[in-house]
Symmetry: C2
Subunit: 353 residues, 2 copies
């Protein structure tokens, strides 16, 4: 279940001794069992002054412009190469806030558990939530735990909702995008989706394909510090992949987008896995990746700085914003042919995040 | 499915014409179908300037002390006498914020839909979300829609997370409770739980038992305006009922609580239904009810003011905080006997909210 990273975390966080092995309906009742779960020490893992008040809501103090974002995570399987649903839920909302130009600060955490979930699995998820929060510099300040009957859920769903303060230099809006803007992709595409698919399909490769789930907030903040409002839009190509996000942006701005396949970074074995399964990597979900629409004047310097960051080593300029073909994304293939890129049609990979 | 109240709302909000009748996995893909759902006009119902930006998160501005609260709603059935899961989800989080002494302002809204949900049912839920938001004076500013395979969810689960500004006169903390404080219950108990149970068990009564789901924020705000920090704690007895909330408060304050059964208001047919099903109404969930722990000096005036409010017509002083028997809640029965009140043991009514 756990990969090396998680095993190390678990060694540092031994599970409290409990007199129950699985979560039951009673743990969601609001009564004795809920309080027993709350008092069991399980949630102490996430302890902080605000959360520890255990009121109906958290008392926080914030000032000025903020971003507020929500996401529910239903990934299957809940443990996958490179991570699990817990850190995914933290990173996902942290990144959504970062894409708004915000410094993420507080998270709410809501569990919908299917009865029968092993407490040891729940613990492992909580441990990875703890570490993901520490890494991203955010605190879980309020939460909720509900339990559904067997067959009315699937192990565990997690909602995280976050608040962050907008960086003073940030002005992230799709309407700021203009003709000539460069489009920068921060790294290799399709890793998250193919990591999950390889487990589901039982595929084995020379080396394991791992999800790229990670927090992007510090990377974004340092770029905002330096380039401020030259950064016009930030967006993370999760569900629907790079293609869908680009198409949405073309549509909302009424501008055209040209991208070049040879510039789109992808790991060889991820590309091979996509080919094997007949999937176009442009539509496969990513978790630790972002696309920046920036003023052409800063493109080289932006790329240079991003490539020095752990989250941007493989960054590339993949294309630019053009006046021609408004609302259309045109991909120039490796051999020079051109094709129109649409959004993901139908459902490619259900339950990918 | 719909009761009179909902029918009136639906008449005022005709559903946009769509070329699909049910929600499918593709509507949660993030691709074409998700965008089709977003563009269908369905979500225009909740339109406001912030939501309409459709970025990864909402841009909001707030200052000072705030409350932040989250809740996932999994009630079954999703339509019940007196309401549905949509307004329940709005009112639930609005009330959690109000219990913190906050003026609720912004909500996030996250749907986990089981494939096959009828769009007409989804529409009805959205309509009641719209009206509940208007009634409570809050805006949905950011959202998320995910879809799970049939059998991995149950029609629809909804997470709402809310932010509100703490009222300047509010100082709501259980540590403010002291010996002599009066405990005021705002109305009849057990209506929500028994409304849901009567549907599940197919019970019929002379007149239908209806859920008490409603927003309490305006009631709370006017009480805070008048009585400020004489109000020590506000709490809503949802899951686990009145008994569980009182026991939790006794435990966290290390004080005792005495309550008097003859003062606890309950509708006759709700009491009868509880007896029929062998349920103690003290443990049955409420949605539009709150318990106030207040300074004894204001008790009469507080009760008088609350009873003039639509949400407090049946309010009663049900007991007081005592030095004796710390951490214990003692109920004096109608015939004078005394018993210790514990939290809800196990799970009485799964999926009640």
């Amino acid at each position: 279940m756990s990969d090396t990273k998680n095993l190390q975390m678990l060694l540092q966080c031994p599970m409290p001794k409990l007199d129950f092995d699985v979560i039951t309906l009673g743990h969601g009742s609001g009564g004795i069992l809920t309080n027993k779960l709350l008092d069991s020490g399980v949630f102490n893992l996430l302890s902080n002054d605000i959360l520890d008040e255990r009121h109906d809501g958290a008392f926080i103090e914030m000032n000025g412009k903020m971003a507020f974002s929500t996401d529910s995570f239903l990934i299957s399987p809940i443990f996958f190469p490179g991570g699990n649903i817990g850190e995914l839920a933290v990173n996902g909302t942290v990144n959504d806030l970062a894409m708004c130009g915000a410094i993420p600060k507080y998270l709410s955490l809501s569990f919908i558990i299917e009865e029968g979930l092993k407490v040891s699995e729940f613990w492992e998820i909580l441990v990875s939530i703890k570490y993901a929060c520490e890494k991203a510099g955010v605190q879980v300040v309020t939460g909720d735990t509900k339990v559904v009957e067997k067959g009315k859920g699937d192990k565990i769903f997690i909602n995280t909702t976050g608040i962050g303060t907008i960086h003073t230099k940030a002005n992230i809006r799709s309407k700021n995008i203009k003709t000539g803007d460069k489009i920068i992709l921060s790294g290799n595409i399709a890793s998250h989706g193919m990591a999950v698919m390889s487990v589901r399909e039982g595929l084995e490769f020379d080396s394991e394909i791992k999800s790229d789930t990670t927090n992007l907030n510090y990377t974004i903040i340092s770029l905002l510090e330096k380039f401020g409002n030259h950064i016009h839009l930030l967006t993370d190509p999760t569900r629907g992949g790079v293609a869908t996000v680009l198409k949405e942006t073309a549509q909302s701005t009424n501008l055209g987008i040209d991208i070049f396949q040879r510039n789109i970074p992808i790991e060889e074995q991820v590309a091979n896995a996509c080919e094997l399964l007949g999937l176009d990597p442009l539509y496969v979900a990513n978790e630790g990746l972002f696309i920046s629409f920036i003023d052409a004047s800063i493109a080289d310097e932006f790329l240079k700085m991003l490539k020095k960051d752990n989250n941007g080593i493989h960054a590339k300029i993949i294309g630019s914003v053009v006046e021609e073909h408004p609302k259309q994304v045109i991909l120039e293939s490796a051999i020079g042919g051109k094709r129109v890129v649409s959004m993901l049609p139908g459902e490619q990979l259900p339950r990918i995040c």
